[in-house]
Symmetry: C2
Subunit: 306 residues, 2 copies
């Protein structure tokens, strides 16, 4: 059996870090998970985990999919930093620089949701589909759009969880939970929005509660907008809220109703059951996506972020 | 002076066709405009116009930016056709095949709005900005997103004029004019929507009519969604409705208010006056965009559409 080249991957979440050394989903050599505390301690544990692999020449590239907001503009003086995050102690943390300096290997940094999208595109439910969209609906809502095998970066990283969608105050008087936009998509449909509205975590709201039709409606309205704007060939829905699997058929049905035959693609008209899917990599989209990010460093292209 | 290579361009509109032979905006050799009648006559006139240039070896590539809906999927049996259009006589018209067969040159076909976006990206207001977005707000609403110098094509061509945005029936009881989605963006803010709502063409609604604040609000809500999803570095607003130039400052102000500091880019926070702009090529974005499309045929890349 040929020896596969190994890469490092970090899923840097606001709650926990996952660090892996792997060549892909079927070849995970080592993995560690730990709580996200203060930056020095947390990044220190990640560095400690990778150090032996680096020292033995087993890995020379690490991908990081991180919580944010991140500065991903290569021309910015704070490129590679977590910037103004509400998470205590993490504002203005030089994630990229700290890891590079300690480990002396190539590091690729992207958002957590872009990394997950990349992982799904490489090995998961959107494999072979380009462009594709990965959406996480949980504590926040964010989307990773993968086109030509890369995450989209324009003026900035997209923040598509904050798009505005129709909201009837008669049907749903909840004003929304987003501190910036009130009733944007995230403000209406994220985990915290559900909990603030119902006084109950989404995980324990009964399946037959009429609220879920409203939730599916918001998700479908947002998906409609993404489909019309980005035209992805596959949509992956991850995150805590989408753990409630009964949402999938509701969302699919509503997307088709809302588009009303306007997008004449078989994926919508006939095969929507395989067009809108849960992650193929389960809870490993993020960490394996970080591995996929590291692999891109080897591909020697002109993306200034890499 | 070196002889510049010439290209053909067709702006194939539902009302009129514009055919040009040019090397760019400063080097237009010939141009003809005529009314769009039945396909055989209209395409025949275009062919007649280009024939002498082709016969003399002056052009070997023509770009076409066409009204639609178009089938742009290279794997489809009706690739290059105008498909189910409401325009009489034009349903199932093989535009690409007809031109190719008659002229025996390379033909590149894209949507009218994508061609205009490409023209603006190459020579106009979004020159040097990638990704960029060109939006036309007129009889219909459509967007051309140019990324890596090319128009976005995914599952299909985007149809971003039909996204859903908040609509207060109290403030604006108009139910919307879109036959598919009622009060989608196009259904609320296109030229026909204005005329149906006010009983007056937008071109003659007085500048001080309170309606324009509502119109600017809808446009700003849609732009907010595009910015958060596509993160363009420049947005160009064209089309008949945007001829009312007083809309620009209203739209800019409202976009900044709606985003509420969330997108921390200087383009939004400080320079929105040069971020959202009218077309730099005036009414030539479409025909010159078709020239830009033809030029891409020379660039020998792997886009299966070319």
């Amino acid at each position: 059996m040929p020896i596969k080249k190994l890469y490092g991957g970090i899923e840097a979440g606001g709650t926990k870090f996952v660090c892996v050394v792997a060549a892909g989903p079927d070849h995970i050599v080592d993995e560690i998970r730990f709580k996200t505390t203060v930056p020095a301690e947390t990044l220190g544990r990640a560095i400690q985990f990778f150090q032996p692999f680096v020292a033995q020449g087993q890995i020379d590239a690490i991908g990081v999919g991180s919580f944010g907001p991140l500065d991903l503009n290569p021309e910015s003086p704070t490129y590679g930093f977590i910037t103004a995050t509400p998470k205590p102690d993490w504002s203005n943390t030089n994630v990229l620089g700290t890891l590079r300096q300690a480990l002396k290997v190539s590091i690729a940094l992207d958002t957590d949701v872009n990394a997950a999208g990349l992982g799904e595109h490489k090995w998961g439910a959107s494999k072979g589909c380009d462009p594709s969209l990965y959406l996480t609906i949980g504590t926040g809502i964010g989307g990773g759009y993968i086109k030509d095998g890369r995450s989209l970066f324009g003026m900035l990283t997209p923040e598509m969880g904050h798009i505005r969608i129709p909201h009837s105050r008669e049907l749903d008087p909840f004003p929304g939970s987003c501190p910036f936009h009130g009733d944007c998509f995230e403000g209406l449909a994220s985990g915290p929005a559900i909990e603030q509205r119902l006084g109950l975590r989404g995980a324990i709201v009964p399946e037959d509660d009429a609220f879920w039709d409203l939730e599916a409606d918001y998700i479908a309205l947002a998906l409609m907008n993404y489909i019309l704007t980005l035209s992805p060939k596959k949509i992956i829905l991850g995150g805590g809220v989408m753990q409630r699997e009964f949402l999938f058929p509701k969302v699919r049905r509503r997307v088709r109703e809302l588009l009303n035959g306007y997008v004449s693609s078989k994926s919508i008209l006939e095969n929507i059951g395989t067009y809108i899917l849960p992650p193929g990599l389960g809870n490993q989209s993020g960490s394996l996506g970080a591995i996929a990010l590291a692999m891109q460093l080897d591909e020697k292209d002109h993306d200034p972020r890499l």
